[in-house]
Amino acid sequence: MMELKPITFLIGLVFGATLSLGGASSHRMIINALRLKDLRLMKIIMTALAVGVLGVSLVDAAGMAHLKIKPLYLLGVAFGGVLFGIGFALAGYCPGTCIVATAERKKDAVFTLLGGVLGATTFGLLYPIIEPVFIKPINFGEVRVPDLLGVPPLAVAVLLAAVLLTAAWLLPDRINERKETTATQSQTKAA
């Protein structure tokens, strides 16, 4: 187990505050992102990925990054992703943002947190049964896209960042979203 550093707490502090201020812990913003009606969350993710991939690739090119590549075991990653997507749409929070939402006193997020602990723990207990079926077969190991294409990581990073930033810049914030809540609020004010 690696040494604990104070900077980890500081990174968490800024991460939590940013997710809260950016609206990433908002059920409405998450669900409307998945309904493709409010794209602001997608744009946060696109910008984070563009800045992240550029930053990480530059630091790595300088030999200073501690990369940790997740292995690709196709069955587990894809089936886990499907389950994650179902839970994501039901909860309207993700594992990190439900901690943020709990800190903001959004009461339903506490239940996602509790359900999450139970779900993750159940997985841990069932791991000996799951591993031979989902993790061991069709396991390609720690594959990176640049290795697959045979090009330098920095080239892939620049291209990906350019595509993501252009998309985030060009996409509208909202698509045909009827301002249901805003309308209700103004009615309440008028009454």
């Binding site: 604990l4 900077i7 980890t8 707490f9 500081l10 990174i11 968490g12 502090l13 800024v14 991460f15 809260s20 950016g22 908002s26 059920h27 409405r28 998945l34 602001r40 744009k43 984070a48 990925l49 800045v51 992240g52 991939v53 630091v59 990054a65 501690h66 940790k68 590549i69 997740k70 292995p71 690709l72 075991y73 587990g76 894809a78 089936f79 886990g80 499907v82 994650f84 997507g85 179902i86 839970g87 749409a89 039901l90 929070y93 901690i99 943020v100 006193r105 009461k107 339903d108 947190l113 359900g115 602990v117 779900g119 993750a120 594959v143 990176r144 896209v145 990906l160 985030a168 809540t181």
Partner: protein, 175 residues
Amino acid sequence: MRAWLQARDPEEPIIPWWLAGTIIGLLLTISLTFAGHHLGAASEYEYTGGRILSLFSEAEKLPRWQGKLGVWWETILLLGVFVGAALAAWLTRKPSLEIPTLWREHFGADRWKRYAVAFLGGFIMLFGARLAGGCTSGHMISGISQLALSSFVFAITIFVTGILVAKWLYDWRTA
């Protein structure tokens, strides 16, 4: 100043998307450079459960959890996330929320109905996250930034499924 003091919509952002995204991307870069780890949340859920179980069983001796139930970087990171979010919410006077507004508009004001679905969603989501090996930040954002093929597969499956289920729940089912 008056706008600042007025009740805020707890479900609307305060800073623009490009600023939030840039900060998150920089944090990940700083984290992988100086702290030696990425950003993530999902494993801590499993180890929290393991810690609770080890209070009244010998769960810490399971091969999967052996030597992993102590305080580690993700515990400290998430403690920071919680404190940072609480501080931001307090400083910006973000009000608390009983039920999300969009849920109320589509499924009514029954709190326990919402809490039950939030719990079920959390269960399925974290089971899936552990199976896939990470979550939105730990797998998708941290992984794609490192150009891991696995994380591209994960991102595509969570969004395709998430979009279909959200459309069904909020658009097609009620239409």
